[in-house]
Structures are given as structure tokens and as C-alpha cells.
């Protein structure tokens, strides 16, 4: 077998039928380009939805569960007897985590932990005008909270640091602020479940892009929330933790539950409905990618097959003049490789260009999503996949008919 002469024949075939070569190449190109655009877009949407849902969720949340499911006094006193208790009520106990700040200090030492934020959460009413609007207030150390949820980046007006210098300031969700018709600098009254009132000042308005957060939650200083709830300085109801690796959080939550004896909830559990949706979307991505690649693959196969069928006579002549089966296969394989590689690279380029255009196309999703353009992901992985697929398919699609042709009896063709 002589590769150089096969290469020369392949080159002549490609160059003399430039139009046909170009069409074959474009078949590969469009398949790959569509694959790149579709997968970048679908994955971008998935990533965006995941980020916006999970960004607002701690990886692990430690809290105290208030339930009526506690052992009653009579059972403790008389454990062997047959006790019947009707209408058991929750105990009058504080919702706080004892030594909460100490636990926070301990967890912070763990190198796998990105940040820990102690919180005091409470239901409140916001009073502006006659109707009280229900919401939540979270007393936080805003710098620690920022480390977990990038609050600073999400502040739409006002400024996050103003909370540090203003003990009665609050950061309000943008949908809540719009409903109450308040702006930065406005004052309003909040009422706690225990009945105390407090005049607070809006120092900033933030948006997560998630209605259940932006429409109800306000951030305030820990000391202020402790004060309105009439609790001491160590009163903490929740501890939010972000890990460096979100997957490690699921096991870490169990470790913390055992260690400190409080309830823990990991992000997957907190977003179980979303995670199910995520699985379905990922399955969809796989189905769409496979469909695209199969369609592209068949297109490529058809073109390469036609290319070989058109050259049957030439194959017969080459065989008659002494070219072996391997030479014939090499001639068509080289053509496939050239068409596949050039077509795939062009496809990657076009795919990238279209993805880029899509990623700068303005898109207004309203309040529901915090997005200005279509979410598109640029991941080298998909480009490598596209390239590998394009080249492998083209080579296979060229090899199969070429092998068939190399076995064909030249007599049948030469006799006409």
C-alpha cells in the first residue's frame, strides 16, 4: 500500500469536484453547528435555572424543629405503663440553637466549608399604609451572608454596606419593595408575631430573581432582630453553610446532625422538586443531543455513500490497473477524514458564532427570572464532543461504503 499515491488520488477527487466536496463538508458543518448551539443553549438554561434556584439555598441548613412529637411527662415518669395522651401540643420552647455562635465558630474552622452564616429568622408584618403585608425578616451578619449568597452583587439600588452603619436598616427584596411602594431611604414599620413594633429604614433593595425570596424576605442586622424579638445576644435560629463542593454537603449535613443534635437539611433535600425537574431536563438534553447527532450522522453517511457510488467506475479501473482493496479504502478514507475534519472545524466555528449571537440577544423574562440575555454556556467539552463526533462519524460513514466498494468485482462494472 502506498499512502502518498492514495493521498494524491483523494486530493484530485476532492479538488476536481469542489462543489460536491463543499456540499459534503457543509452537511457535516451544519450537523455539528446545530449540535453546539442546541447543547450550549439547553445546558445554559439548565445551568441558569439551577444557579438561580441553588444560589439562594444554603448547602446545609442547621435549625431546630418545633414539633408536638416529644415524649410527654407521663411517659417519662411511667415508661412501662400504657399511656394514652390526647391532643398533645408543642412544648413551650425557644426556637433557637443553643451555643449557636460557638457552633458557627467551630464549623468555620473546617477547610471544606466556604462560609457559615448564623441567622435569626422570624415572620413579620410590614406596615405602610393601612394594610399589613406579611413577610420574613432575617437577622444576619451581612458580611458573612454576602460570602454565602453574594448579596452585594444582587443589590439593585442602595448599598449593602449601609446596613453595617445603620442599626435599624433593612435590605428588602425587590418585589416586596415594589408591592409596598418603597424606595431606598424610605421608612416603614414592622410588627413581630409577639406584637412589638419597630421603625426601620430601607437602605438597599436586592433581587435574587426568585419570587419566593424577592417577594417576602428582608435582611437586617442580627442585633436589631434580637431586639425586636426580645431575645439575648446569643439567640440564633438557623445556621446556613456553603461548602466548597456542593456534593460533599449531603454527607456533611448528616455529620453535623450527629455532632450537634439539631436538624439539618442539605440543598438537594430542600430543592427536591427542582432536582426532579433537573433530572428531566438533563434527560431531555441527552435525547436532543442524540437525535441531533444521529440526524447529522445519517446525513454524513448518505453523502459519503453517494460519493463512493459515484466513483464505482473509477474504483473498477484502479483495481484493474493493480490497486488493491486497501488502496481503495485509503483513497476514500482520506477523503472522509479531510471532509470530516474541515467540516467539523467549520461547524465548531459556526456553532460558536451562533451561540455567541444568542448569548447577546436581549431577552426580558420579567420579575420571574433575573436575566437580560439568553443564557448560553460556553464549555470546551461540547466543542470537543462535537469535533470528535463529526470526525468519527465521517470516517465511519466513509469507511463503510469504501470497504464495500473495495470488495466489488471490477469485472461487473468494466463489462458494462
Amino acid at each position: 500500500m502506498n499512502i502518498r499515491i492514495s493521498l494524491q488520488i483523494a486530493k484530485t477527487h476532492l479538488l476536481t469536484k469542489k462543489k460536491q466536496t463543499l456540499i459534503a463538508m457543509l452537511g457535516v458543518t451544519f450537523g455539528i453547528a446545530m449540535f453546539i448551539v442546541m447543547i450550549s443553549f439547553i445546558k445554559g438554561v439548565n445551568k441558569f435555572l439551577e444557579d438561580s434556584a441553588l444560589d439562594a439555598t444554603p448547602h446545609v441548613r442547621i435549625y431546630k424543629e418545633i414539633t408536638s412529637n416529644h415524649p410527654s411527662l407521663i411517659e417519662e415518669a411511667n415508661p412501662k405503663a400504657f399511656n394514652v395522651i390526647h391532643h398533645q401540643l408543642p412544648k413551650n420552647e425557644l426556637a433557637n440553637i443553643k451555643n449557636g455562635l460557638q457552633i458557627v465558630a467551630n464549623i468555620e474552622k473546617d477547610p471544606a466549608v466556604l462560609g457559615v452564616s448564623p441567622q435569626i429568622g422570624s415572620q413579620v408584618f410590614f406596615n405602610k399604609g393601612p394594610i399589613p403585608v406579611a413577610g420574613q425578616i432575617a437577622g444576619v451578619d451581612i458580611l458573612k451572608e454576602d460570602k454565602l449568597y453574594s448579596i452585594k452583587r444582587r443589590v439593585k439600588s442602595g448599598n449593602m454596606e449601609a446596613l453595617l452603619s445603620n442599626p435599624n436598616g433593612i435590605l428588602m427584596g425587590k418585589i416586596l419593595a415594589r408591592n409596598l411602594n418603597v424606595n431606598v431611604g424610605d421608612k416603614l414599620t414592622i410588627t413581630t408575631p409577639t406584637g412589638s413594633l419597630k421603625l426601620v429604614k430601607v437602605v438597599g433593595i436586592y433581587g435574587f430573581g426568585i419570587q419566593t425570596v424577592d417577594g417576602v424576605r428582608c435582611y437586617a442586622n442580627m442585633s436589631m432582630v434580637q431586639e425586636i424579638l426580645q431575645k439575648d445576644k446569643s439567640y440564633v435560629t438557623d445556621i446556613h453553610i456553603k461548602m466548597k463542593d456542593s456534593q460533599a454537603a449531603i454527607d456533611y449535613a448528616k455529620v453535623l446532625a450527629n455532632q450537634y443534635g439539631y436538624e439539618t437539611q442539605d440543598w438537594a433535600e430542600a430543592n427536591s422538586a427542582f432536582m426532579t425537574g433537573d433530572k428531566i431536563r438533563n434527560a431531555m438534553v441527552i435525547i436532543v443531543s442524540i437525535t441531533l447527532l444521529v440526524v447529522a450522522g445519517f446525513g454524513i453517511y448518505n453523502i459519503m455513500n453517494m460519493n463512493v457510488i459515484n466513483k464505482m467506475k473509477d474504483i473498477a479501473i484502479l483495481k484493474a490497473t493493480g490497486f488493491g482493496g486497501k488502496d481503495i479504502v485509503a483513497v476514500f478514507l482520506i477523503q472522509s477524514i479531510i471532509i470530516g475534519v474541515l467540516g467539523a472545524f467549520l461547524g465548531l466555528f459556526i456553532g460558536f458564532s451562533l451561540s455567541y449571537l444568542l448569548s447577546i440577544t436581549p431577552f426580558d423574562a420579567g420579575d420571574f427570572l433575573d436575566v437580560k440575555t439568553f443564557p448560553v454556556i460556553f464549555n470546551i467539552k461540547y466543542y470537543i464532543m462535537g469535533l470528535a463526533f463529526g470526525v468519527v462519524t465521517t470516517i465511519l460513514a466513509g469507511y463503510m461504503p469504501a470497504r464495500k466498494a473495495s470488495k466489488i468485482d471490477p469485472v461487473a462494472i468494466l463489462r458494462g
Partner: protein
Amino acid sequence: MKVLSASHINKYFYEPEKFQVLKNISFEVKKGEFLSLVGKSGCGKSTLLYILSTMDTDYEGTLEMNGEKLTGKSQDQLAAFRNEHLGFVFQFHFLLPEFTVLQNVMLPALKLGRYSAKEVEERAIQKLKLVDMDSHALKQSSKLSGGQQQRVAIARALINDPTIIMGDEPTGNLDKKNSEVVFNIFKQIAHENHQTIITVTHDPDFAKGSDRIIEMSDGQIIKS
């Protein structure tokens, strides 16, 4: 000195039903002989030629060329043998349309690899001169007339100095003038270069001019 010997060649067609095309054919060809295979359509002469050409391997009997037994060799071995020892001229000229005249002639020699590309080119031009086509060397082969293509095909058949040149009605598609040109080239090759020529032909003048005629009928040699 014999260059080709076929002994007890039998060949069957199986479609649409079993039919014996060649019946126990044996003959020998000497070096430098200009041989014509003649006979009515369907007598099996083309079938025999394709068996001799080694491209059809589905037969009974043995075939030897240049003292080498070819029956039972693999396709690739036969291709290599054809490349070195056989040249072909077909009825419908069969050049590769994408290539220039020169490239068409050069390809089998490049495949053989006996000479460098430069030497192959010189030799190809020499062969084209022999058939008086050297002035068209750089033309696309699809742009030539039928007679011109046939002469290029002869140059291609000669490029590796094969022992035997086979033709399947090489003049069947040509007018009288071009037929004469082709005939004269063949005659010259056989008598001056001492290369053996075996052609299937329907043309009585062509056959009459050759050294030896083998006439076939119903799959048998009736006169040789």
C-alpha cells in the same frame, strides 16, 4: 517461450439458472504473440478474457502466467500481479475523468513504485509519444475524443512494461481510422517490444491482421 497457459478452465453462471459458459478450455500463448479471441456474442470469449485478466477468480482449472500459478491467490496478490505484469485496454476507454492524461498514465507506475515520480513522468511522456498523444498530456482526460482516450488507455496499459496486454474489444467503439491507429500500435508493441497481446474482437479485419486467431463457440475453442 510460453507466457500464459490456461488448462481445463470451466466456468459456470448461476443466475438465472446454472449454465456452463466455458467448457474445459486449455491453451497456451507464446511471448510476443498478437492473439485475437473471436466468436459470436455469448460464446464466452469475454468471460474467458476476464478470467485471464485475473479479475474474475470464480472458475475451475488452473491459470499460469510468466511461470507463476495464479489460481488460488488472494485479491490483493492478484492486484499486485496485474499492476506489474498486465496491461488493460477496455472497449469504453475508461480513463479516470478527474485526472489529466499524464496522471492517468502515471498512476499504475506510481503504484508499482519501481521508478521515482520524476522518472515515471518521463516514461509516461515516452509512452504518450508512442501513441502520439504527448501534446495532450496536461489536458483533463474527460475533454478528449473517444479515439484519443483509447490511445491514452493504451499508453497507460504500457507504462509498467507488462508481459501481456489484454484488450476487450479495444476498437469496438472506434471509427475505421482510429481502429487502424490502435491496430498499428498493437502490432508494433508485439513485434518490436515482444510484449504479448490478447484481444477479444468482433472486427474481422483486426483479427485477420493478428498473428493468431482463437475462435470460440458455445464455450469451447473450435479453431486455434
